[in-house]
Subunit: 202 residues, 2 copies
């Protein structure tokens, strides 16, 4: 049985190697510009072998997309679950922003691949990926509703639009982030300060 387990582990390890290679390439080049031969090369295999683990390029990209969202969802949810009982809302939202941005910028090609290529994949894949994405958006709606219920958020702000703006602006950092010019944590703090308090002096 340990023999069977070892085999399963090896198969899973190869699958992961393919997915890692695909996520990194999709992130850098977009969906259409990445070939299965390119993915296979980066995973140290021949193109034909990839089809033993996945039945199509679309199946690979769907799994990359969903893993990307699930990882950031998990980290932000942990922050919210831990803090919602005992933190000020400003601190709680700041921590959630940091969790999203640090995962995106530092921890995984999957999350950044998701941001970059979600709009480029075939319609059928995009609508499947939207199911998982919507669950993450709902988490942010909960976080913001929690703050509004406590009276800490301006009553005239449209929270659905704010959530779209928030996630969009965090994801847009991917296009210019350079770890040599400032850490993900510093940028996260600065973003939170602007989003919570604004640009203008008063």
């Amino acid at each position: 049985m340990s023999d069977t387990l070892a085999k399963k582990d090896r198969a899973a390890e190869t699958r992961t190697r393919i997915l890692d290679a695909a996520a990194s390439l999709f992130r850098d080049k977009g969906y259409a510009a990445v070939s299965l031969r390119g993915i296979a090369d980066a995973a140290d295999m021949k193109a034909g072998s990839v089809y033993y683990h996945f039945k199509s390029k679309e199946e690979i990209v769907l799994e990359v997309l969903n893993l990307g969202i699930e990882r950031v969802h998990k980290t932000v949810k942990a922050v919210f679950d831990t803090g919602k009982g005992n933190q000020e809302n400003a601190a709680l939202i700041t921590d959630a922003i940091c969790a999203h941005l640090e995962t995106l910028l530092e921890h995984t090609d999957y999350t950044s691949a998701n941001v970059r290529i979600h709009g480029q994949v075939p319609e059928a894949i995009r609508s499947e990926a939207l199911v998982v994405r919507r669950r993450y958006e709902a988490l942010w709606d909960d976080i913001l509703a929690h703050g509004k219920a406590a009276g800490d958020i301006r009553q005239d702000v449209d929270l659905k639009m704010f959530r779209l703006m928030l996630i969009g602006s965090l994801n847009a950092t991917l296009e210019w982030f350079d770890p040599e010019k400032g850490s993900a944590r510093d940028i996260s703090r600065a973003y939170a300060a602007i989003l919570l308090n604004g640009l203008m002096d008063k």
Copy 2:
């Protein structure tokens, strides 16, 4: 001579038809997924004929990219030049945000194609397009410096980072904007209110 002019007009008109078709397709499908046959189809020609007007797909995309930035640059610059002598900075920045967002969301496929595919084109094209893009970023640096000099902007805000965040968050609206659920103008006003004053009640 009017004969010569008419010929030039017709040639220019065909060029424009190709660029319009390309901008719209790039915006919808990304760079690599759009073929020259697709562009030619949308411009009512055969693929071979496109090469009379452009020497490669890369030449087409570079022109689309640059026209996109130049159009938004022109509208935002007009707002700044008109308002900087006689408007409050909060109103001036709000108007500039509206000008950028309304051009992006309503007025031209070129600007939205630029936002979507800038990160997908071959490196040589991207670095050429960056020259024009940097001029637009410098305009925003001027707008923000003008506000800071007047003492209307918090002294602790890093304006370079804010400019990156601002343009990134405006461009990100492309991914979710739906004209049936709210006009570009309403979204612009809401964005400006959040960016200038923040989310939290005080």
